[in-house]
Symmetry: C2
Subunit: 259 residues, 2 copies
């Protein structure tokens, strides 16, 4: 069997340590190609570049790994990798995104550029995983996660994924005890509560910094927040069909639906 | 009963005709407050502004309607409206977003700034609707949609929505026959197939325009693409829990899950 083709991307930008670790692990699993943003794209959600141009430049940042930096969003990177770099011919066997510097558990999956790249791949029918480390610090230690990154990627290469699904994998921060294992989870019921820090620029005009606190409402043990808090790796299957199928019967009760 | 407080936003920017129509309709239903982007934010998905500042400026564009233009994304607008403009005290009874110039059916819900504003409101527990007209032209005729915008908003104000759900409402373009009615739908199984138009700038450097064709794989009649094609208004309940719950049993079969 030939080596799998692995497309690597992220949202922290091609120079971030997290993607360096991911490329290193993937080199042991197959042929690697990198198309990643040329600057940080955190919080970009599923943004794409419309009404503006894109740049794409070869990069030697990973030595002899075939790599490109792109001016677009993570979702743009997956699209341009598929349709331009790979010319719609060879296609990746898997897309891996990350390793993100910071958590993408719970509601953060919606805001996550890391996961938007994985979901974009899932739309194309390619198995995909977004990896994130729940540690925002610039000197975050990824070492406890790397063997699991390899194992999870191997498992997905072997078993594939259900259609329409990408995996949202989060690693607990490095703690004094080893990781307890992997948990398949649902997205926790939690949200960010924002605050707006109002300041004045040197010209006296108002501006704001958005800050936020994460609030977890979820008392369950089958969710990603519980897993991370208890030193497990969380794996959430995430989908791009946003339809709330359970809500359809109630809406069909509307009086304004004249048939 | 006091008049409902209605927060209006969009992703085409505060000067676009679509939001003007929406504000006009909402003035007949309650007290209106507008917080909308100060420039087009199409394709922004669920992007938020992290690592950068936000500006917010009062606007008299809608006469005596309390309005603000914001430098951020649609999701930012909902957040700053709630936590700064309304100071976490009074909260909107409903959030309406749009009317978008162009379709947000099917997979486009993921890329849609219009819907990200509605989903952001749903996260906060506020009933919310994203309205889009399936007509991209600058001179698009919204007149056939406006009475339905009013009816649908009234229905949601009266019946509320299931928790965690926002409505994605799309109107067919104005055709020779009247709209046939409203259909509660699921998101169609369709995607965009991109192409990258490669050009050279005046300095000889490569750049790209991303273009795309919409491809519909869905043969069903219970989806939003079918509704629009058949001159119905589509209403899809959309949720922010991306968990593919149906995929959890298969993943629990992984060999690497040592418990």
């Amino acid at each position: 069997m030939s080596k799998p083709l692995i497309l690597v991307t992220n949202d922290d930008g091609i120079t971030s340590p997290g993607i360096g670790h991911l490329v290193e692990v993937m080199k042991g699993l197959g042929e690697v190609i990198v198309v990643a943003p040329n600057r940080p794209q955190s919080g970009m959600g599923h943004a794409i570049t419309v009404g503006d141009t894109l740049r794409l430049k070869e990069s030697r940042i990973f030595g002899d790994v075939n790599a490109f930096e792109c001016s677009g969003t993570p979702a743009d990177c997956v699209k341009i990798a598929r349709h331009y770099v790979l010319k719609d011919q060879v296609q990746p066997d898997i897309v891996v995104s990350g390793i993100n510097h910071g958590s993408n558990t719970s509601i953060s999956v919606l805001y996550s550029g890391t996961m938007s790249a994985a979901i974009e791949a899932a739309i194309e029918g390619t198995p995909a995983i977004g990896f994130s480390l729940c540690d925002y610090s610039a000197e975050a230690d990824f070492s406890h996660a790397l063997d699991y990154v390899k194992k999870i990627t191997e498992q997905v290469l072997q078993k594939k994924l259900p259609m329409g699904v990408a995996l949202n994998v989060n690693f607990p921060p490095r703690r004094n005890e080893p990781i307890k294992g992997i948990r398949i989870c649902r997205q926790a019921n939690a949200k960010w509560v924002e605050d707006f820090d109002e300041r004045r620029d040197p010209n006296g005009r108002k501006y704001f910094w958005m800050t936020g606190n994460f609030v977890n409402f979820d008392k369950g043990e089958d969710n990603d927040e519980w897993a991370i808090a208890n030193n497990y790796i969380s794996v959430v299957p995430s989908q791009f069909d946003l339809t709330a199928h359970h809500a359809i019967p109630a809406l069909n009760d509307w009086e304004i639906l004249m048939r």
